[in-house]
């Protein structure tokens, strides 16, 4: 029955923008982290790894272990684990005629690796590895440094298992590009058996990379896998594997919480300000209504219905409007440049800010704003409860 269009629109607009603002900021923050984790974690380290006990401390080939179907089975016992792929990693020197660079040689099972880290999608030139290829896959940055193209050859020299000398000459079958600049500058992939041969470490691997169904609750999964495998193995989550990134996310999340807190305060002031403005305008009306015989309870109920309606409608519209916005910035991430970009690259991830399109974020922000809106709408109700017709109608 109350249809003051302007007033409703102003209140709704304040809620509307509040929702957009909080959805945008939180989805941006979440998106940046998702992107970061995706770049570094899921595309390379995986969310979880299994090593021989002590490997994380001292990452040398002598701390490798035997690849076995039995171990893989044990790992797959945990329901949250969806896949396992072996790797044999070690640092080697890569040289062409006149350039030599240190790099990380990674022996992989091409099919299984692709299932977990989607390596194939990262190929920008040439082809992906097959398990019986006598060839290597280079990361793009490294290929540039070594001035190598597909079908060129390079020589790898390193230390093999138990102190042996490892050396070999390989053809470049493909070049892959990584989001993480750090990876992009130093990784070489080759089929696992070839790597084992190169390092004289037949049947040995340094790690199993695990893929998971749910990546949220890592710790319980890690605990069960560790229990299954016993003391000879260590199970590490991505937080243990790349602690600097985890740390970065944690500090950033904390900062973001303050920012979000300040934002919610701004939202509070915005909504409260509008409702205060409305109250000044409505003072006479409220006074008149009570004077002619409307009970304060009725007035309060009226305000309650009105604010529930405006808050919900504003929020819904805000969510609807923010969906395309968030999707747009998901597709066309904000790119940053300059010093900040460098800092980000040093941490090992792309200096781009995509937004997260996680539905729960929309809902969560919407609910928070609705709660703020409804709490703040108690104020007009409180005013209605206390309205005095004589003073309310004074000019």
């Amino acid at each position: 029955m109350w249809r003051n269009r302007n007033r409703t629109i102003i209140t709704m607009a304040s809620i509307f923008f509040a929702v957009i603002l909080s959805v945008a900021t939180s989805s941006l923050r979440q998106g940046v982290f998702e992107n970061l984790i995706k770049n570094v974690v899921s595309f390379y380290t995986g969310y979880m790894q299994v090593h021989k006990q002590g490997y994380q401390e001292e990452q040398i080939l002598d701390n490798s272990f035997e690849e076995s179907v039995e171990t893989e089975h044990k790992i797959l016992q945990e329901k949250n684990v969806s896949g396992v792929t072996p790797r044999l990693e070690s640092f080697v020197l890569a040289s062409t005629e006149n350039i030599t660079k240190g790099c990380l040689l990674v022996g992989i099972n091409p099919e299984k690796e692709n299932e977990i880290t989607v390596l194939k999608d990262k190929i920008i030139q040439g082809e992906y590895l097959k398990s019986d290829d006598n060839a290597v896959l280079l990361s793009m940055g490294l290929a540039e440094k070594l001035k190598l193209k597909v079908n060129d050859t390079l020589v790898l020299i390193g230390q093999g298992y138990h102190g042996s000398i490892a050396a070999g000459k390989y053809r470049v079958i493909g070049i892959a590009r990584f989001g993480s600049p750090e990876l992009n500058d130093k990784v070489i992939f080759m089929p696992l058996t070839l790597a084992q041969e190169f390092f004289s470490a037949s049947g040995m691997i340094t790690s199993y990379i695990l893929s998971l169904h749910h990546t949220k609750n890592l710790e319980p999964t890690a605990t069960t896998v560790a229990a299954e495998l016993g003391n000879n193995f260590e199970v590490l989550t991505w937080g243990d594997l790349v602690p600097d990134i985890k740390q970065h996310i944690e500090t950033d999340t904390n900062n973001a919480k303050y920012v979000q807190g300040v934002l919610y305060m701004l939202i509070c002031f915005g909504i409260f300000g509008t409702s205060l403005m409305m109250m000044v305008e409505r003072k006479f009306e409220m006074g008149m209504l009570v004077a002619i015989g409307m009970t304060k309870i009725k007035l309060m109920i009226l305000f309650a219905i009105e604010s529930i309606f405006t808050v919900l409608a504003g929020c819904l519209l805000g969510i609807i409007a923010s969906i395309p916005l968030v999707y747009y910035f998901n597709r066309h991430p904000i790119k940053i440049g300059g010093d900040t970009a460098e800092t980000y690259q040093r941490f090992g991830f792309e200096p781009i800010f995509p937004t997260s399109v996680d539905a729960s974020n929309f809902i969560r922000q919407g609910v928070i704003v609705v709660i703020i809106g409804l709490i703040l709408s108690l104020y007009p109700m409180y005013k209605a409860m206390r309205v005095n017709p004589v003073s309310a109608m004074k000019k």
């Binding site: 006479f284 009306e285 008149m288 004077a291 002619i292 015989g293 017709p389």
Partner: protein, 238 residues
């Protein structure tokens, strides 16, 4: 004659603790059904305060007010709201109407509060708008009406609840003289034809001239209370 308003030595004091202002000072007032009475006096003499006390919008510091035999000074604030709804019609100087409702809805609203059924409401709205001569403005918003038309709708709204009497605090203060005279015409006619009791405050001599009884307040005291000779000969009491 039936007594509708009976106020016994009522007083209202502001700033009791600092410099007390006797806005209404020991006033006796007695109004019968069918009266058409003007409350006059200089600015600050206590007209609004007295009307607020009689209308149950404010409580006196001393004295009792009986409306239709009910002592409203003893009612709780919720009882008072309900009492106002059923017994007193109000016309204020301004802000009478809810801007978002049409003229008709503004009048109907008070009957909805009284839980009158829809058919009766419709009939009464039609009758009232005929009386104020605004049958063609039923569905206009207040902003589309002139000040005089708005006050006429306010009179209709005040009457809609079938009150014992109508209180009007400077109903013509914001109107030009033609609109003021039109409003007075309507009020006088309603008083004569429907025996509606009006008590209104005013500064306007032309409005005072049309009252049948004039009560003059100065500094919160009634200094004169007299029948208006000219008017009484024109509109004999029925």
């Amino acid at each position: 004659m039936k007594t509708v308003i009976d106020a016994h030595n009522i007083s209202k004091v502001y700033n009791r603790k600092t410099i007390p202002v006797y806005a209404v000072n020991n006033v006796h007032l007695h109004l019968e059904r069918g009266e058409f009475t003007a409350l006059v006096g200089p600015s600050g003499s206590g007209k609004t305060t007295l009307l607020n006390l009689i209308g149950g919008l404010d409580k006196p510091d001393e004295g009792n007010i009986f409306i239709n035999g009910v002592d409203i000074t003893n009612l709780s604030s919720n009882e008072l709201i309900n009492f106002r709804l059923r017994n007193i019609g109000f016309v204020f100087q301004s802000f009478n109407l809810i801007p978002v409702l049409t003229a008709k809805e503004n009048v109907e609203f008070i009957m909805q509060l009284q839980k009158m059924n829809k058919r009766d409401r419709g009939e009464r709205v039609d009758k009232l708008f005929k009386e104020i001569g605004l049958e063609d403005k039923l569905n206009e918003r207040p902003s589309k009406l002139s000040g005089g038309q708005q006050q006429r709708v306010a009179v209709a709204r005040a009457l809609a609840s079938k009150p014992q009497f109508v209180l009007a605090d400077e109903p013509t203060a914001n109107l030009d003289s033609i609109a003021a005279s039109n409003l007075l015409d309507i009020m006088v006619r309603l008083n004569k034809e429907e025996n509606i009791t009006f008590l209104f405050s005013t500064h306007d001599q032309r409005v005072i001239d049309r009252a049948r009884r004039v009560i003059t307040l100065v500094d919160g005291k009634i200094i004169s209370d007299s029948a208006n000779v000219a008017t009484n000969t024109m509109h004999p009491t029925n």
